[in-house]
C-alpha cells in the first residue's frame, strides 16, 4: 500500500518532462506544468467563448458567467485605475483568467498546479513590474522618478525616505509572486499532509478526512482570492504608474 512508502507532500510539485525537447541549448520540454497551462488556457477560452455562442439579449447562466467575468475585471480597472486603464483591459483580463484557471485546475485531483511554482509566479510578477515601470516612464518621462519622493517631507528626511520608497518599489514583484506561490504551495501541501494522516490513522483517519473536506472548500476560496489579489495589485501598481501620487 501507499502507506508503506514514505509519503512526500512535496512530490506533487515535481516537474515531469512528458515530451523532452531541446531548442538549441535550451530545454523546452513539454512537462506536466506545460500540459496544465495548455489545459487552463483551453478551459478559460471554452468558458468565455462557449458562453457567447448565442449572444442573447437576456443571457443564460453560461453567458451570464462570461459577462460577469468581463464586467468584474472591467469594473476593477475602472475603480482602481480609472478610464486611462482601459487600454490595459485585455492584459489584465488575461492575467486574471490565467491565474484563476491555473489555481482552479490545480484543484482537480491528480492535476498539477503550475501557480505553485515560484519561477512561474515570479515571471508573471516580473513582467507586470517591468510593464508598469515602462508605462510610468512612457507617460511621465523622467518625472516618473518623482514617484519615489514623498510630498510634504522635510528635505533631510528624504535621504532616508527615497531609498525606502525605491526599495519598497523593487520588492513589489517579490511580494506579488511569493504571495501567490506560497498560498498555492501551502494549500496543496496541507492537502497531502492531511491525506497521509488519513491513511496512517486507519479508522481514525475520518478526522483528517473531515479537515480535508473543509480545506477543499477553503482552497477554492484561496484559488479565487489569490487570482483576485494578484490582479488588483497589478491594477494598483498600474494606477501608481499612470497617476503617480
Amino acid at each position: 500500500m501507499a502507506a508503506e512508502k514514505a509519503i512526500d507532500p512535496l512530490h506533487q510539485f515535481e516537474i515531469v518532462r512528458l515530451i523532452p525537447m531541446k531548442l538549441g541549448g535550451l530545454d523546452v520540454s513539454f512537462s506536466n506544468a506545460s500540459l496544465w497551462m495548455v489545459i487552463a488556457i483551453a478551459a478559460a477560452t471554452v468558458f468565455l467563448v462557449g458562453g457567447m455562442r448565442r449572444q442573447s439579449l437576456v443571457p443564460g447562466r453560461w453567458q451570464s458567467m462570461a459577462e460577469v467575468s468581463y464586467e468584474f475585471i472591467a469594473g476593477m480597472i475602472q475603480d482602481n485605475v480609472g478610464s486611462k486603464g482601459r487600454a490595459f483591459f485585455p492584459f489584465i483580463f488575461t492575467l486574471f483568467m490565467f491565474i484563476l484557471f491555473g489555481n482552479m485546475m490545480g484543484m482537480v485531483p491528480y492535476s498539477f498546479t503550475f501557480t505553485s511554482h515560484i519561477i512561474v509566479t515570479f515571471a508573471i510578477a516580473f513582467v507586470v513590474f517591468i510593464g508598469v515601470t515602462v508605462v510610468g516612464f512612457v507617460m511621465h518621462g523622467a518625472h516618473f522618478l518623482s514617484f519615489f519622493v514623498p510630498k510634504g517631507v522635510p528635505k533631510i528626511m528624504l535621504l532616508l525616505m527615497v531609498p525606502i520608497e525605491v526599495l519598497s518599489y523593487l520588492t513589489r514583484p517579490v511580494s506579488l509572486s511569493i504571495r501567490l506561490f506560497a498560498n498555492m504551495m501551502a494549500g496543496h501541501t496541507m492537502f497531502k499532509v492531511f491525506a497521509s494522516f488519513t491513511i496512517m490513522l486507519g479508522i481514525f483517519g475520518v478526522a483528517p478526512l473531515a479537515i480535508n473536506v473543509a480545506l477543499t472548500g477553503f482552497e477554492f476560496l484561496v484559488a479565487f482570492l489569490q487570482a483576485y489579489v494578484f490582479t488588483v495589485l497589478t491594477c494598483i501598481y498600474l494606477n501608481d504608474a499612470i497617476h503617480l501620487h
Binding site: 512530490h11 518532462r17 483580463f93
Partner: protein, 163 residues
C-alpha cells in the same frame, strides 16, 4: 523543494510565455470583443427602449393636453351658445310682450270709443225722447200741438240749466 530546481526553470518559462501569449490573443481578439459586443448591444437596446418610452410618455402627455384644450374649448363654445340662445329668447319674449301691450292698448282704446259712441247715442236718443215727451205733455197741457223745434229747444234749455 522541487520549485527550486533550476534545471526546471527554462521549460516552465518557455511554456508560460507561449500559453500566456496564446491566451492573450484568444482573449483580446476573440473572447473580449464578443462579450463586449453583447454587453454594448444590450446597453444600447435598453437605452433605445428607455428613449422610446420617454418619447411615448411625452406624446401621451401632449395628447392629454390637446384633449383637455379641446374639452375646454367645447365647454366655452357650449356656454357661448347657451348665452346667445337665452339672449335671443329674452329678446323674443320682450318683443312679444311689447306687441301684446300695444294690442291691448289698441283694444282698450277701441272699446272705450265704442262705449263713448253708445253713450252719445243713448244721450241723443234721450234728448229726442225728452222732446217727444215735452211735445206730448205740452199738447195735453195747452191742448194744441207745439212744433218739434220748440220742444227740442226747451229740452236743450232745461238740460243746460241742470248741467
Amino acid at each position: 523543494m522541487p520549485q527550486l530546481n533550476v534545471a526546471d526553470f527554462a521549460p516552465q518559462l518557455v511554456w508560460l510565455a507561449i500559453t500566456f501569449a496564446v491566451l492573450y490573443l484568444l482573449m483580446a481578439k476573440l473572447a473580449l470583443p464578443k462579450i463586449g459586443r453583447a454587453i454594448d448591444a444590450r446597453a444600447q437596446r435598453i437605452t433605445a427602449d428607455l428613449d422610446r418610452a420617454t418619447k411615448l410618455k411625452d406624446e401621451a402627455a401632449g395628447a392629454l393636453a390637446a384633449y383637455e384644450k379641446a374639452l375646454a374649448e367645447a365647454r366655452a363654445q357650449a356656454q357661448a351658445t347657451i348665452k346667445a340662445a337665452s339672449e335671443r329668447m329674452r329678446k323674443d319674449a320682450e318683443s312679444r310682450e311689447g306687441a301684446l301691450t300695444k294690442k291691448l292698448a289698441a283694444d282698450t282704446a277701441a272699446a272705450e270709443g265704442r262705449i263713448r259712441a253708445a253713450r252719445d247715442q243713448a244721450m241723443a236718443s234721450l234728448a229726442h225722447m225728452a222732446a217727444d215727451i215735452t211735445k206730448s205733455a205740452a199738447e195735453r197741457l195747452i191742448g194744441q200741438p207745439i212744433n218739434d223745434a220748440t220742444a227740442t229747444a226747451a229740452v236743450a234749455a232745461a238740460a243746460k240749466e241742470r248741467a
